[in-house]
Symmetry: C2
Subunit: 450 residues, 2 copies
Amino acid sequence: MKKTDVLIIGGSAAGIVTAVTGKNHYPDKNFLVIRKEKEVLVPCGIPYIFGTLKNSDRNKIPDTILSNAGIDLKIGEVTFVDQENKVCKVDDGTEISFDKLVFATGSIPTVPKWLKGAELDNVFTVPKNKEYLDVLIEKLGDCKKIVTIGGGFIGVEVSDEINKMGKEVTIVEKLPQILGLVFDDYLASRAGELLESRGLTLRRGVGVKELTGNEKVTAVVLKNGEELEADAVVLSIGYHPNVSLAEKSGLEIDELGTIKVDEYLRTKNHDIFAVGDCAGKWDFLTRKLSGIRLASTACAEARAVGMNLYGLLTVRTFSGTIAIFSTAIGDTGFGTAGLTENHARKEGFHVVTGIFEGIDKHPGTLPGTHKQTVKLVVAKDSGVLLGGEVMGGQSTGEIVNLLGLAIQNRMTVNSLLITQIGTHPMLTAPPTAYPIIKAAEEAAKKMKRA
Amino acid sequence: MKKTDVLIIGGSAAGIVTAVTGKNHYPDKNFLVIRKEKEVLVPCGIPYIFGTLKNSDRNKIPDTILSNAGIDLKIGEVTFVDQENKVCKVDDGTEISFDKLVFATGSIPTVPKWLKGAELDNVFTVPKNKEYLDVLIEKLGDCKKIVTIGGGFIGVEVSDEINKMGKEVTIVEKLPQILGLVFDDYLASRAGELLESRGLTLRRGVGVKELTGNEKVTAVVLKNGEELEADAVVLSIGYHPNVSLAEKSGLEIDELGTIKVDEYLRTKNHDIFAVGDCAGKWDFLTRKLSGIRLASTACAEARAVGMNLYGLLTVRTFSGTIAIFSTAIGDTGFGTAGLTENHARKEGFHVVTGIFEGIDKHPGTLPGTHKQTVKLVVAKDSGVLLGGEVMGGQSTGEIVNLLGLAIQNRMTVNSLLITQIGTHPMLTAPPTAYPIIKAAEEAAKKMKRA
């Protein structure tokens, strides 16, 4: 029987970061990562293999990340975890005994059971699976009209990339706006306009009834009876946690279908951890279970687990998931951190908002200057920052991270108003009109009035 | 006699933001800005009028910022402040009585008294003065060889821009590195290499003895006796606070030559404030008087003053200046927040550092991917973040702001390690190798060892 100190099941972002961080903190322990896939893709890079990279080989995570850190790797599927004996059974018949075990089994694309025709040829999902995606790209080559079902981040990114391949792409989204769960109307509608200006067709506010065709899909039938011709369909309705192994092995599953963990990502069995998409999460602000699954959150969890494998070295001060997303449509970045206004109100927060539209260089006459819009969502009485949305240029991703950091530090509008920021003509908004601070001023005004 | 509630002397960033913020908080009060200049330039945009904008008209701050906010503007020079009667005398013979007075008189380029030949024709400084700069640009048109004396931010930015005009530019810096006060050797030497690759010549580690020529400058003589031919010389040795009016009017000046203020930017006379380059500052970390003068700091101060003009509405929690700088050389951004390692050690801090070199998109095969390097400086025992340096692409300015926010929130390496960040292929480093967090890991390792 093979023996290892720490066994990590799953080799995507969460698994890798757990292993590397763990080995870093406990260099005397043996670490073994076991995964099903021969090769692993950068998860968030997957949409970009279609039109930009043109090839999944350019989006691989090299195994040298593990080997350079002195971490062992095995390709195989764990079929059962014997908790009592601390042994994993692998599909090749081998057994691996462990001291600590980490589930990093990720998530898999959801194919709704109610969707008739989902089994037809040329109906695809977007799994984190290189072989599948290579086939998908190849098959898309022969297609002209593509319909994407679901206008969340993955649906939007993949559609925009398939559009770059020269295809006619239509996104069907049942909510009134694409990206409607993560942005309030103002930014979501702008994202929609931008996609349309790039040649995509959007069908918003209408659900899908079924997919039709003989063997191969030929049409998407909407709930209003309309039919959209389709040579291929991409389902991007969501992902659900991959917990079948955990369930089979007797681990507790929470009501969102994720592995039940405490704030240190430990299961009831303190030698067994779960991280990433398969692990339970709480929202930082609402304190409810959260269904938001991001590679960046997975990595933050993985670092905490890696450090705390053999004793709690690091207090997880910022417990709870802050949804920090960003994406790009062409050269326009969109990002969000924390709660949207809609979400906050739905949860019962009394909020005010502030919005400011500025520029990302200064003066705006500089070449390459991009508009930059920031919206802040703030608790009306305490002034605590609950969320923010950003639309801008190349720096959008890091501005969203700034907002995320402010939320994690429980900063208030008042503290934002006197925050020092650095500015530079070529790199940022002007010091006189830095959008986060101007939006905070707007919110502060409304707090006073309220 | 003209009467106003709030009189602000100076119409650059600090004056404008004080007025706009003040009017925002106290809409019933009259605000009047008085300034000498007919037109005002975006201060940090000034270097870019040479090669990129090609014209100072494209770098103006429009007066509509004031008029739209309901703030009055007068062009003129205040010659004396009568504190007892609360009256300002203006050079056109008028007098203005005020209730609250704000000095925002800025800074002026330093021309060292010991520098022989500084009075020659074609020896320039870089003041915030449109007329002067328009003449400078015109005169540079006839020049071939330009020597810049002083390799700080302004010297580097102006030189790189003049190089874009097709001139031969040499920067003379007496420190071993250009930008040597704000970056440790590692980044400073990279900035130097980059400038050289763009065709600039650097003379480092050698001072200037004198400028020579008849009427017009023809050469810069170095301390080692060497002569550099020069058709024009740009002095960018530093700026000193413009406090002659304050001094004349009996305000107290501190040992760095700035107007003495308390943590709310009030002078001993609580109806008189000072903000921006002319006002005294403390370093956030060393608690010493600070000589670092930035538009962004000025604006943070101005917001505090604007809010607190008639009673202390907002506690200045983050008192003290954090030096948050950024600049760009071509498409490479350089930035720094807080203390460099050298500076921290000189001040007596026991520090460890962490450095990580990654990429600003992921996977690195994406077009336009730029290297991204982060260095963190951390207090060895407490783990409190003292400073950070960044070299990267377009997002460098906002990453430096992230570091600035972390410093202001007194974050530690431990809290950075479990910080959640958002990542996106097109906009940020990968979640598995986000440079701030990887650099924090390096620093954490060294803390353990120490």
